[in-house]
């Protein structure tokens, strides 16, 4: 009991300097947005992109927390589900009906993947699981290109192309829509985890598998449901990437790297950190791209890599993660 209590206090503690830095960043963004309309536009666009990174990062963190596995196929699973959504709209469904149905399919897909290929290797080494997810990556890529072809596809724009003008600042309705949908799905997930019995059981299964199974929680099923939920988040990220990147089998590969960087920035174990990390990274990349002329579009990925590396070396726990203490 005492061990549990100690762990939870360590987990909840966010250090003061980090809170201070976050507040400073927020003030900087607000002041900058008020003084320059380009800054404001880039910030909002960055927030929208960052929300997409954040949802995929959250998917990674959900799985990592439960099983200490990083799913390299997370982005490709989201990409495949986006194609499913595209196919549904081709069959005449309206966008939002297709969207909802796609999320349901994504959930089943995630559960099936966990049951069939992940569960058998789960208790082996990290390398074994990583390689299985890598195999999944290539397999999904091949299947999607096989069915739909590798050329660009276009879905109907879900949010239209209107632009709102507030003073001299132009906000794309699409950016606001992407931001809204991503944030909404994250909040729904948080509610599920925090306020439902299923969420409680899932948290228990992730935190203390042995104890959870002793009180009657089916840990294996909770893990499978976790994969299902992560797959839903990946599908949201994919569908929200589509309006800017369009549909192609490689659409999520860069997003996956950004999501990795975001998850590490926030602390691989912290769901809130993943979303925060995603948003920060999205805004940072946009502003740096706007104001530092050396950083052209080719350097966006290397910059994300640099962020990831710096965080890993300087503060491996990330912004909101707890410090890793290991006994030897």
């Amino acid at each position: 009991m005492s061990a549990l209590a100690r762990k939870s206090t360590v987990g909840a503690g966010v250090s003061l300097p980090i809170v201070g830095a976050l507040v400073a960043i927020a003030i900087f963004l607000v002041v900058g947005s008020l003084s320059s309309s380009i800054f404001a536009q880039q910030t909002v666009a960055g927030l929208a992109q960052g929300a997409v990174f954040g949802s995929l990062a959250l998917a990674l963190v959900l799985i990592y927390r439960a099983t200490e596995v990083v799913n390299f196929a997370q982005g490709e699973m989201g990409m495949a589900m986006t194609y499913v959504g595209y196919q549904l709209t081709l069959w005449g469904l309206s966008y939002w009906l297709a969207f909802t149905l796609t999320l349901a399919i994504a959930f089943v897909f995630g559960v099936v993947v966990q049951l069939t290929v992940i569960r058998p290797v789960q208790h082996r080494s990290v390398i074994a699981v990583v390689i299985v997810t890598v195999g999944l990556f290539i397999l999904i890529d091949g299947v999607v290109s096989w069915i739909w072809g590798a050329d660009l596809k276009f879905m109907a724009a879900p949010f239209g192309n209107q632009v709102y003008h507030v003073g001299s600042v132009a906000f794309a309705r699409q950016d606001l829509g992407v931001l809204l949908v991503s944030i909404l799905s994250v909040i729904l997930l948080w509610v599920l985890f925090q306020f439902t019995k299923l969420g409680l059981a899932m948290r228990a299964a992730a935190l203390r598998p042995a104890a959870a199974s002793l009180v009657g929680i089916r840990v294996n099923w909770m893990l499978a449901i976790g994969w299902g939920l992560a797959s839903v988040l990946g599908a949201v990220a994919g569908l929200m990437t589509e309006p800017t990147q369009f549909l192609q089998p490689t659409m999520m590969q860069a997003i996956l790297i950004y999501a990795f960087a975001a998850a590490v920035l926030g602390g691989l174990e912290s769901p809130a950190g993943a979303v925060l990390g995603g948003v920060l990274l999205g805004v940072f990349l946009n502003l740096v791209g706007q104001y530092v002329h050396f950083i052209t579009s080719e350097l966006r990925l290397p910059v994300a890599f640099a962020v990831l590396l710096v965080v890993l070396v300087v503060k491996p726990g990330g912004l909101l993660g707890r410090r890793q203490v290991r006994r030897v």
């Binding site: 397999l139 096989w146 960087a261 350097l299 890993l312």
Partner: protein, 314 residues
């Protein structure tokens, strides 16, 4: 014991003879294909030294291949250097880069190292695009001379042979023991006087040097073209898969891993129905998952298990 040693020598001699005689029975296309297996062999061997012997995972070895490959292409294109002479330079440069990458890797392990090296693999081709004056951008750089299929085959397999011998010499002695000690128990290794930082970084450097040489040959094998898309993430993933198929920590399985990665896509392409570019990916991904599910220790693990069963029966 001695019988086992003799039979192993016979197997080695037979392998060498087969590889030596093979090109006379093949046309140019198949010689090129077989050379590709040798190239994968070198790269996977390097990765296996790192991942199998020191336990540091890397999903970034395609990037080291890119560094070796670009070294060869640029030296040949801009300075008209003999292709064979570029190999040791590619080796040296990738060794140094490997040491540099190994330094931050000291603080990372497991999943974190996998993520960092993966991001490294993604970043290097982007850097080649960015500094296009130097690398030729998305068009790439082409070497100004090229090898015939037969010469490529001979050079690649000789390099593979040298690599294997060097790896064996390196791993059988003091350094190999130190590598394994850092993998199995870092604490025990450190307390017996094995310097973890030195050996871990060294493993990264050696492993990158192997990948660099493989990258040079890889560029020569693709008509001398070094292009960013040739060294994409998929290449790094293939190397890791090859090492897993080989069975981590075993030198002899590497041949099987290299053959798997180098030949399976081509073989599955010649099968009707699935014989499209995307069909290859489907087969490849499926095989990877099946092998991981069914043969947890790679091909060598399977052979060892069969051997144990036969011994138990007799």
């Amino acid at each position: 014991m001695r019988a086992a040693r003799h039979s192993r020598l016979i197997v080695i001699a037979a392998t060498v003879v087969v590889i030596g005689l093979l090109p006379s029975t093949m046309d140019g296309y198949h010689q090129g294909l077989a050379a590709r297996v040798a190239i994968y062999f070198i790269a996977i061997l390097g990765l296996n030294i790192l991942t199998g012997y020191t336990g540091q995972i890397s999903i970034g070895h395609g990037a080291f291949m890119a560094i070796g490959g670009y070294t060869t292409a640029i030296l040949s294109h801009d300075h008209h250097m003999n292709l064979l002479l570029t190999l040791p330079i590619a080796l040296a440069i990738s060794f140094v880069v490997g040491l540099l990458v190994g330094l931050p890797a000291l603080r990372l392990s497991g999943v974190y190292l996998a993520l960092a090296t993966f991001a490294f693999a993604v970043s290097v081709p982007q850097l080649a695009l960015k500094f296009s004056k130097f690398t030729g951008g998305s068009n790439g750089t082409q070497t100004d001379t090229s090898f015939s299929h037969l010469k490529l085959y001979v050079v690649s397999w000789i390099c593979a042979g040298i690599s294997l011998v060097l790896a064996w010499l390196l791993l059988r002695g003091r350094i190999g023991r130190a590598f394994r000690a850092t993998r199995d128990s870092p604490v025990a290794a450190a307390s017996s006087g094995v310097s973890l930082p030195i050996y871990k970084t060294l493993a990264f450097g050696v492993s990158a040097a192997y990948a660099g040489v493989a990258g040079s040959l890889y560029v020569i094998a693709t008509n001398g073209f070094a292009q960013p898309q040739e060294f994409g993430v998929i290449l790094s993933l293939q190397l890791l898969i090859g090492a897993a198929v080989a069975g981590l920590g075993s030198l002899w399985g590497v041949l099987a891993g290299a053959a798997f990665v180098g030949l399976l896509p081509t073989i599955s392409a010649s099968v009707p129905l699935i014989g499209s570019a995307h069909g290859q990916d489907v087969v490849f991904g499926l095989m990877v998952i099946l092998i991981m599910l069914l043969l947890p220790n790679g091909v060598v693990g399977l052979l060892a298990a069969v051997g144990r069963r036969r011994q138990a029966r007799s």
